[in-house]
């Protein structure tokens, strides 16, 4: 029972990270039909920016250092993503493969630059003392970072749903996922919505970057890429363009991966997730959800 609770919550924490990456990917894909490989770069650059900023305020309390790291990561992730959309994606409008290719190039270039600048060794992120402690839930000692990551993901989920259901921009995004041309034909500048989903996706990815650093205790140049691949799987299983679908799929993938990695041999969980994807595709080529939120 204790083990199960621990695995469940750790899996949920992992799923929370996947969700933060996948939500942006899914919206970007839904609206623009762009598979954004640069998402891992947003994640990584934001994490390193947050880590560096937390180092700059090294004299401050660990709580403040951590908050600075989170704030900087979110801002840098959003800014990087916005810049990417405006400078690299927009000139390739109507060339979908070209758009995917520039994000591939950007991912390769950025990650290797980070590796060159900071080295490939993991960097320890300064954490407040309470985060490194544990909380006892049904007898299991749960690391507080797991709970923190889950809380952040829930908050982002709630914000995204509010944004999509209650704001005009959200309305435009939902309509654009269904039929972009018709949105334009109603006199709406879809381009602005493109930039906005990139900005939102980048902010969420940046948050994921620094929260992954919190969850694992360290940041390194390669994690963004490896998490991105699982986020892709989450996006497909959840149904492209659906934030709710991504949330459900992220939980399923994170928890399944955690349990199987523990009870099977190492790597069995990762492997099973890919198998799950294959099964989902064979049964329902469109993923679990067809809804536009």
């Amino acid at each position: 029972m204790t083990t199960i609770a621990l695995l469940l919550i750790t899996g949920l924490g992992l799923g929370a990270l996947y969700f933060l990456i996948a939500a942006g990917l899914s919206l970007i894909w839904g609206l623009m039909r762009v598979l954004n490989f640069a998402h891992g770069a947003f994640f990584t650059v934001a994490a390193y920016a947050g880590w560096s900023a937390s180092g700059l305020v090294g004299g401050a309390s660990p709580e403040l250092q951590w908050l600075v790291a989170v704030a900087v990561a979110v801002v840098v992730g959003g800014a990087f993503a916005t810049l990417t959309e405006v400078v690299l994606i927009r000139p390739l409008y109507a060339r979908h493969v070209g758009q995917v290719l520039v994000t591939v190039g950007l991912a390769l270039a950025t990650i290797s630059l980070v590796q060159g600048g900071f080295g490939s060794d993991p960097k320890r992120l300064a954490l407040p003392a309470w985060m490194t402690g544990t909380t006892t839930i049904v007898g299991a000692n749960i690391p507080n970072t797991r709970l923190l990551v889950i809380a952040f993901a829930l908050a982002v989920f709630a914000l995204l749903i509010f944004f999509l259901r209650r704001t005009r921009f959200g309305l435009i995004v939902r309509a654009g996922v269904e039929n972009r041309a018709m949105v334009q034909a109603l006199g709406i500048d879809v381009q602005r919505a493109f930039t906005l989903v990139f900005a939102i996706g980048g902010m969420a990815a940046g948050l994921a970057g620094i929260l992954a650093g919190t969850y694992y205790g360290t940041i390194d140049p390669g994690r963004g890429t490896s998490m991105l691949i699982f986020a892709f799987i989450v996006v497909i299983i959840g149904g492209l363009g659906s934030v709710t679908g991504s949330a459900v799929a992220a939980i399923v993938v994170g928890v399944l991966q955690q349990f199987l990695n523990f009870y099977g041999a190492a790597g069995v969980g990762d492997f099973s997730v890919v198998l799950l994807l294959a099964i989902v595709l064979l049964v329902r080529p469109g993923g679990f959800s067809g809804a536009s939120t």
Partner: protein
């Protein structure tokens, strides 16, 4: 009031899709006020003409709205100058409610005509919270027309086969709505149902294989069986 001025002038419109030359130098004028019919057999380029006016397909040539060239503008900028589109497949947003579909069409600064929309289509007010994807074909057509009618500063409505696939009773409803809509905006109407077209339109443009084959008065076309057969491929056109 002087004679109705030209609202929309299309000059030498050419559209290539893949390797096909769909529109081959289409030119015509749409007079301000009333309904102008864009007729012709299936596949002659009527829908492409409407999409070309809006910039939804890549095209060459010139489209002048109220004296101003629009060809260089983005789709949404053309629409904001008062061009509304009611596409053939309605293209309502299935996952959005009726009310959200209408709200999406609202344009900042334009006087909104919810009173007119709900007077013409009271059903839409009752079904405001219903997902548009669950509506009948006729109701979806109402949503599509309502989106185009909503903004008070729309100059011209491009309406593509609004009665296609609808039951006779619904067709009558749509025809009545179009008649009322023509009192507040100019309409360029693509219509396969010739009796509907005859009852609504004044000026007629006929397309044949990507070119304009006839421009004139509807009674002139429909009243002359030989002329109607030549341009529309229909024997019974004069019986209306």
């Amino acid at each position: 009031m002087s004679a109705p001025a030209t609202l929309l002038a299309v000059r030498d419109l050419n559209v290539y899709l893949a390797e096909s030359h769909i529109l081959q130098g289409v030119s015509f004028d749409v007079r301000a006020g009333g309904i102008t019919g864009l007729l012709g057999r299936n596949g002659v380029g009527k829908t492409t003409t409407l999409r070309g006016i809006l910039g939804l397909v890549p095209r060459t040539g010139s489209v002048v709205l109220e004296g101003a060239e629009t060809t260089k503008l983005a789709v949404h900028e053309i629409v904001r100058r008062g061009v509304a589109y009611v596409p053939e497949d309605r293209d309502v947003f299935a996952g959005l409610t009726v009310e959200e579909n209408l709200r999406l069409a609202e344009r900042a600064g334009a006087p909104l005509r919810y009173d007119l929309v709900y007077e013409l289509f009271p059903e839409l007010e009752q079904r405001a919270a219903q997902k548009a994807g669950t509506l009948s074909g006729g109701q979806q057509q109402m949503v599509a027309l309502a989106r185009a009618l909503l903004n008070g500063d729309n100059r011209i409505l491009l309406v593509d086969e609004p009665t296609k696939g609808l039951a006779p009773l619904v067709v009558r409803h749509v025809v009545e709505a179009l008649r009322r809509a023509a009192e507040v905006a100019t309409i360029l109407l693509v219509e396969q149902n010739l009796s509907v077209a005859h009852s609504l339109v004044r000026d007629v443009i006929v397309l044949d294989q990507g070119r304009v084959s006839f421009i004139g008065d509807v009674d002139q076309l429909m009243g002359d069986a030989a002329l109607a057969r030549r341009h529309l491929g229909l024997a019974a056109a004069g019986s209306h």
